[in-house]
Symmetry: none
Subunit: 420 residues, 2 copies
């Protein structure tokens, strides 16, 4: 398998003023054609540091992709370091000079000497044309290995990579694509998943496939990889669907799907409308549902009943219920969901009430206790959750849990609490 | 100056499934205490690659910070590599085992053997407690140099770094803090700010201070730095308050303040309650207002009137108004804000209606057109905004604009549209 290394040059990345999204984008592009990135580095814009990163990369990898340090200002030294490194000299490239000149003419901006000098490029390189800007990309051969240098501005880099570098890389390295599939789960921890899928994982690995658990709050992604590329695609697909069948409640989707998309699709397919009555989540569920373009087809709206007064006045939760059972209780979320369904005139309604924290917890209902309710035209579902101490994460977990809960209720794969 | 190196471990970073935000966050934290990150690396989770990254880092830097590879599953090998590297052994750490046990007990989740094994930690390290999760951090000394290992989950890493690692780093390396102040602005672009503050910036730089513009959608942070440390603090403070006075509408806060905190403080000081009637923002304003602990003192709740039917039924916007002027109009947000004030029984009410996109725009009201209204007990404010083509960013910009608008209205620094 071809191995690649990415090097980004720039202090702004090291002090965290810019997030290195170029590295993740390039990692994705290379993975898609079966080139494995084995190392990425960010260095200062000092010649010694850059040369040392080049040396280390040539030791490890066959393809080295460098971004950054090609601007017109004094602190951009990559081109000069490359000339020294490949023992070559800058020569004025006339087609690139014409491109730069027309770039400034079109924009009615004065062209300065520093801009003209951007057309002076190392004699030993193959120039990679930059349609989006004035800093050209450069391709250097060293025996069987290749170093590509591109500007750090993301849209310029992406344009050069896709249009100029990628076709040359595919040709040069005779690449075969890796084959990935990702299963998305909600509501179960990484270690629980690993235990539940332990036999499956052993078989998968024995079959020469790779598996990675990628956790984030409330979610775990399971990524299955076929290193042999498309020829193992059928095996990957089979393992994916096996895991999906084994975890019908947790496994909500695949690849880049989001819960709000999955729920939206289920509602649209069934011609149903939805509304919400939110307390501790403060509108975040509705905001996520409406983040999908076209969600007005099924989202009518919602009530944020943060105070008990509004739980009563807007969602018609009885004062008696609030007094007897408290705002965070099954009885309250039931009346919120049923009251919300009527008030909002919707088919389905989600209700949430919980102790987000960090204060407001009690022994009986500690911080992180959240009740979620769902009302459909014929039934009611409810479930108590226990998250943690962290306010922001409690809200985030409640939102995801509510969306997955309504997904399962819509699919009829969890038992209702009662029918009405 | 102390030099640091960051190493992240994980294939998910190399193939671009996860963006390395840990590196930028750590770069910022270290820069703030005068430690310079000179290199960051991402390696695969293979022992050889990890060891080689450790070796290279110890050659270059005094402080090495490693993130990732500490989870409970088989592909998490950092702890074992560290044991070999520092020639030590895993021993069961009883306090950490208790912490992990209570972590699972509190969440009503079964604790598995793999979780128990997370409490087995290298004998030679100083354990850094992880309040947010089950993977402890580790601090290793090697002569004058230090290596710190933390989990890759951002919120766990941040908690360990801030609470456990940072105080020890400051003590060990005797860091002299740079002195920073940050002014937060909303609603004006970076180049507009640079123009408006051009004289101020020249004076500031002539005084030997540094200035950085840190833009994010809808916001620009201005960071002023005294390289001489505390001795230049008074100068920095003076420039900060000068800029703040020059930009009363845009400059909403300082340092780590958020708009939702600033607005919350103004409401609490004045003993006022607030509610919302949201359309295109779908509940996101209310969610942000209630993200502050204690916000129930002033947030009563809100109406998400996504459909026109609910704008009429819940907020009592007249059908005539919706027909004549459309849902995205000054007239509609006025009736939404006034109707919401009554319906929710609150002192102040924010209303928002806009074309979030990517569809639904017209020549007269293109995608990105957003009307925001504010009703107080005595007056009404409104303003039209034009954001862009990007749905998610339109919502984000609308939320920030609405919060800054209500801040200015509460402070009485923008003229009302009418009194009632």
């Amino acid at each position: 398998m071809i191995e690649a290394e990415l090097i980004s040059i720039g202090d702004e990345l090291l002090i965290g003023q810019t997030v290195n999204t170029n590295a993740s984008w390039l990692g994705q592009q290379l993975a898609a054609i079966g080139i494995r990135v084995i190392h990425t580095a960010v260095t200062t814009d000092e010649p010694k540091a850059i040369v040392s990163a080049f040396d280390a990369a040539f030791d490890r990898a066959s393809l080295i992709i460098v971004t950054g340090g090609l601007g017109p200002t004094k602190d951009d030294i990559t081109k000069h370091v490359l000339c020294d490194y490949f023992d070559t000299e800058l020569v004025m490239n006339e087609p690139i000079l014409e491109h730069i000149t027309s770039f400034f003419t079109k924009r009615n901006r004065p062209m300065l000497e520093v801009n003209r000098l951007q057309a002076a490029l190392p004699e030993a390189c193959t120039v990679l044309f930059n349609r989006q800007g004035t800093a050209a990309g450069m391709w250097f051969d060293r025996g069987e290995k290749v170093l590509i240098s591109m500007p750090g501005v993301p849209y310029e880099m992406k344009s050069i990579f896709s249009e100029e570098a990628l076709p040359k890389i595919r040709e040069r390295f005779q690449t075969v694509g890796l084959y990935h599939r990702t299963l998305l789960t909600q509501g179960v921890g990484e270690s629980f998943l690993a235990e539940a899928l332990s036999d499956w994982e052993n078989r998968l690995r024995a079959d020469g496939l790779g598996l990675a658990y990628l956790p984030s709050p409330g979610m775990v992604k399971l990524r299955i990889t076929a290193y042999a590329g498309e020829s193992d695609a059928a095996k990957v697909d089979m393992y994916l669907s096996e895991a999906k069948q084994a975890l019908p409640v947790a496994a909500y989707g695949e690849e880049e799907e989001t819960l709000q998309e999955v729920v939206g699709t289920l509602l649209r397919e069934r011609g149903l409308t939805i509304g919400t009555v939110e307390s501790c989540t403060g509108g975040a569920i509705t905001a996520l549902l409406t983040s999908i373009s076209g969600s007005s087809d099924y989202v009518q709206g919602g009530l944020v009943t943060y105070s008990n007064r509004l739980k009563h006045e807007l969602a018609h939760v009885r004062l008696e219920t609030l007094e007897t059972f408290g705002a965070v209780s099954e009885e309250t979320v039931e009346e919120m969901a049923l009251g919300g369904r009527k008030k909002l005139g919707v088919d389905w309604c989600i209700s949430v009430s919980g102790v987000a924290g960090p204060t407001g917890g009690s022994e009986e209902k500690p911080v992180g206790t959240v009740w979620i309710g769902i009302a459909s035209p014929t039934a009611f579902w409810s479930k108590q959750f226990s998250f943690g101490d962290h306010r922001e994460r409690n809200v985030q977990m409640s939102v995801l849990a509510a969306l997955n809960f309504v997904r399962c209720a819509l699919l009829g794969i969890i038992p209702e609490k009662k029918q009405h």
